[in-house]
């Protein structure tokens, strides 16, 4: 709790609203992070219900700068709902979400300025070209001198030759890449990618994986939701398993192996861990240690 308390203290004493101004980097990101003390995302007792159906129940966890969190779970587990609530798209029913020190509900603009969310099958503006999407993103996040950064992203994601194509003429993979370019443009502190690897060619997958690792190395917190467990296994440093809206596990992969597979199989894959965790209905339904999701 050190960082938020510190921020609140500074806000009270000095009237400093921009906590990130104190950090040694631009864009609100702490570079060279990974120390595990600066929590860029904090979920406190987060619950989301839709007309009586609980989508996510009492989820508490935090993600540090430099962490790559794999958010996994079967269909309908509440992964996308969680991401949407963190992104401020939909409000939580209960609980508190803090991004880079800003409450998503109370200070949505400040929080959203520091995050980027790319949904699964991202929808672009049909009539706008890739270039125009980047221009809009730069304007939205008030990114100065964005052209060189955009050029670099376009080249990296092999979109340079498609930059003047309207979005309606792009393939799904290209749309995905264009959305990720827009997301990276303002160097967000928290990057959330929902199924980022689906529908991409091997080179595209490699590029996205590389950039995710780079984002984390640069001090961002990254959350990836994916069913392609083998592909995210070597990326993630933390793991959050959701099942029917409840947190089955939150922690390091090694701890997950220990908890669900046993110490004898310390090299068990993420897939194996996932199956063991989710197939154990009794754990999901009754386990007091697993349910509730406090981490």
């Amino acid at each position: 709790m050190r960082a938020p308390l510190c921020r609140d203290f500074l806000v009270i004493l000095m009237g400093i609203r921009e906590w990130d101004m104190l950090l040694p980097s631009r864009g609100g990101r702490r570079r060279g992070g990974g120390s595990g003390v600066f929590r860029l995302l904090i979920l406190e007792d987060f619950t989301k219900s839709y007309k009586g159906t609980v989508a996510v129940q009492s989820l508490s966890c935090s993600v540090n700068a430099g962490d790559v969190l794999a958010l996994v779970g079967p269909n309908g587990a509440g992964k996308t709902t969680t991401m949407r609530c963190i992104a401020g798209i939909i409000p939580p029913t209960a609980g508190r979400i803090t991004v880079a020190g800003f409450d998503v509900q109370r200070q949505p603009v400040e929080a959203k300025s520091r995050l980027a969310y790319v949904p699964d099958d991202p929808k672009l503006f049909d009539a706008l070209t890739v270039d125009e999407h980047l221009e809009f993103a730069a304007s939205a996040y008030r990114v100065k001198d964005w052209r060189p950064k955009a050029e670099s992203l376009l080249a990296r994601f092999e979109l340079a030759e498609h930059r003047r194509k309207p979005a309606i003429e792009l393939s799904r993979g290209m749309r995905q890449k264009a959305a990720i370019c827009c997301a990276y443009l303002h160097e967000p502190s928290l990057v959330m990618l929902d199924e980022p690897l689906t529908g991409l060619d091997p080179r595209g997958i490699r590029t996205i994986k590389d950039t995710i690792a780079e984002q984390a190395r640069a001090g961002a917190a990254v959350i990836i939701s994916s069913h392609l467990l083998q592909l995210v296994e070597d990326l993630c440093t933390r793991l959050l398993i959701l099942h029917r809206g409840r947190c089955l596990f939150f922690g390091d992969l090694a701890e997950a192996r220990q908890q669900f597979v046993g110490g004898a199989a310390s090299d068990a894959s993420l897939e194996e861990v996932f199956f063991r965790a989710t197939e154990s209905e009794a754990v999901a339904q009754d386990g007091p240690g697993a349910g509730g999701g406090t981490a």
């Binding site: 401020g88 939909i90 400040e110």
Partner: protein
């Protein structure tokens, strides 16, 4: 408002204009240019036609316009679907909701886009309606202000709906609809009871206290249309702007928590739009029950295609049956009007039926290739000959159209009193006519494939293109009808026998129907899914 949102509006407008004239094949560009020329010619014709007639006086405008404006404002509230809240597109949700924008900035962005859309709509309206205003500028301003106010008011109601319980809102809406129907019936009854001219009666009605209260907001906007001097016009425009500002203030006050409702509404709306773009229609976006259709096995390998279209037709039957009921009502009205002429009872009955059969229903019954645009790749991979696929594809709408044709003929016979021989001739002619009409629709569709519904991208071109294709269909009807007429005329000249003439004409019609099936099969075989698929 955040400057990025203004930039987005500018970029979208630029992109829309770019899409009108660039990109795609040469054929698309030619079509676009032709479509715009056609649309411009139609608008110019309408404008000239309206200008040639004398303008309405201010009294006449004030006597009728408030009624229409009130109705225009109430209809979307009472009869509109549930997704009229602040509906964001999926791209807006993806980019704007997680973006660094305040809640109210997003609402203002949507309101601004809505106002811009109203302005464009107002120009269109004014071309047709400027006779009902003191001047063209007054008409544009009045239409724009009225449309903006109606849209903002609808948004206010939608936001209030989000705040109150769904059941209470549904009840209120039903009561409102009932009251409106009762009011309309009462007005119609009162008008029929009186001997005064209709305009005078409308004026009397408008002068009554309850109606004056109900029409008060609309009267303010009607004054803009009817203004006699620039000073008067400016005064009423200021009053309208104040009302719009009030509505906007209400939207901004009530906007709390709209995002989640907007997200759900937008998803439902998008699902519906996707279905419409694919040509499936809007009916089947609710849970459906399974259907057991027996007896289709006799169709052999084509049964799978027929079964699929039949299930779609039955599941969406409410939508097309409504269209049929509307068409029948329209036909009945026309036959009653024409039936007043003593010497033309048969013509009175036949003409509307023919118009409905030829022009309206084939457009509605899209359970064929027009519904299968996104499945053409799959169809091409089936181990079926092109002729089999073509027959299977057009079978369901042809059968439905035939059944409806017989029902219309029967209805006309009952109302107008057709002789049995004429009824038999009509009944025999209906199936080949149905094959011809549905086949023609499919042939034109496969030769110039278009989405059945344009979503945002190319609205102007889309409208013109629909007109162009309609003209092409009419041309093909004439081309096909020529040989039938020629054969009938030849036989009549040779024999002077009505049965022989009819049979010869019927045979020619059947041959034309068979030829169109072959033409559809040919068009399907030449359709290249890699190049011919419309965006």
């Amino acid at each position: 408002m955040h400057p990025a949102l203004l930039k987005l509006i500018r970029l979208q407008l630029k992109g829309w204009l770019r899409r009108q004239f660039t990109g795609g094949s040469v054929r698309r560009i030619i079509f676009s240019v032709l479509s715009i020329v056609l649309l411009a010619a139609w608008l110019a014709g309408t404008l000239i036609g309206a200008s040639a007639r004398p303008p309405r006086g201010a009294d006449a405008i004030m006597a009728t316009l408030p009624f229409y404006l009130t109705l225009l404002g109430l209809l979307p509230i009472l009869l509109g679907n549930d997704d009229r809240a602040i509906a964001f597109s999926p791209a807006e949700i993806g980019f704007l909701f997680p973006g660094p924008f305040g809640r109210r900035e997003l609402v203002l962005f949507k309101m601004l886009k809505m106002a811009a859309g109203s302005l464009a709509g107002a120009v269109f309206f004014s071309i047709m309606l400027h006779r009902y205003a003191g001047g063209f500028a007054y008409c544009v301003a009045g239409s724009a202000l009225a449309l903006i106010f109606i849209n903002f008011s609808t948004t206010v109601v939608a936001l209030i709906r989000d705040m109150i319980e769904e059941r209470a809102y549904a009840l209120a809406r039903k009561l409102g609809t009932l009251l409106l129907v009762v009011a309309v019936v009462a007005v119609v009854w009162l008008v029929r009871q009186s001997d005064k001219p209709t305009t005078q009666q409308m004026r009397d009605l408008a002068d009554s206290t309850p109606v004056r209260i109900a029409l008060a907001p609309a009267r303010v906007f009607a004054h803009v249309f009817a203004a006699g001097t620039p000073g008067e016009f400016a005064g009423w425009v200021a009053a309208c702007l104040a009302m719009i500002a009030g509505a906007l203030l209400l939207v901004l006050t009530l906007d709390k928590g709209y995002m989640e409702a907007a997200l759900a509404a937008s998803q439902r709306r998008q699902t519906r739009i996707t279905r419409m773009v694919r040509g499936v229609g809007t009916a089947a976006d609710k849970p459906v029950r399974s259907m057991q259709l027996r007896g289709l096995g006799v169709l052999g390998p084509a049964q799978a295609i027929v079964r699929r279209h039949l299930i779609t037709a039955l599941r969406g039957s409410r939508a097309w049956m409504l269209a049929v009921v509307f068409a029948l009502g329209y036909g009945y009205l026309i036959s009653r009007i024409m039936g007043d002429k003593p010497d033309s009872p048969v013509l009175a009955g036949m003409m509307p039926a023919l118009v409905i059969l030829l022009m309206m229903l084939p457009q509605t019954l899209r359970f064929d290739f027009r519904n299968d645009l996104d499945h053409l790749e799959y169809l091409k991979a089936l181990p079926l000959r092109a002729r089999t696929v073509a027959l299977a594809e057009i079978a369901v709408p042809t059968v439905i159209l035939s059944l409806l044709g017989w029902a219309i003929a029967g209805g006309v016979a009952a109302f107008v009193g057709l002789p049995p021989s004429i009824l038999l001739m009509v009944a025999m002619a209906v199936p080949p006519l149905a094959v011809w009409m549905i086949g023609l629709e499919n042939f034109v569709f496969l030769m110039v494939p278009t989405r059945q519904f344009a979503h945002g991208q190319a609205g102007m071109v889309f409208g013109g293109r629909r007109m162009l294709l309609m003209l092409a269909r009419l041309g093909l009807i004439v081309v096909g009808g020529g040989p039938v007429g020629a054969v009938s005329l030849g036989v009549w000249s040779a024999t002077h026998s009505m049965p022989a003439t009819y049979l010869a004409g019927w045979a020619a019609l059947s041959l034309i129907a068979a030829a169109i099936v072959l033409a559809v099969a040919w068009a399907y075989a030449r359709f290249d899914v890699s190049t011919d698929m419309p965006v």
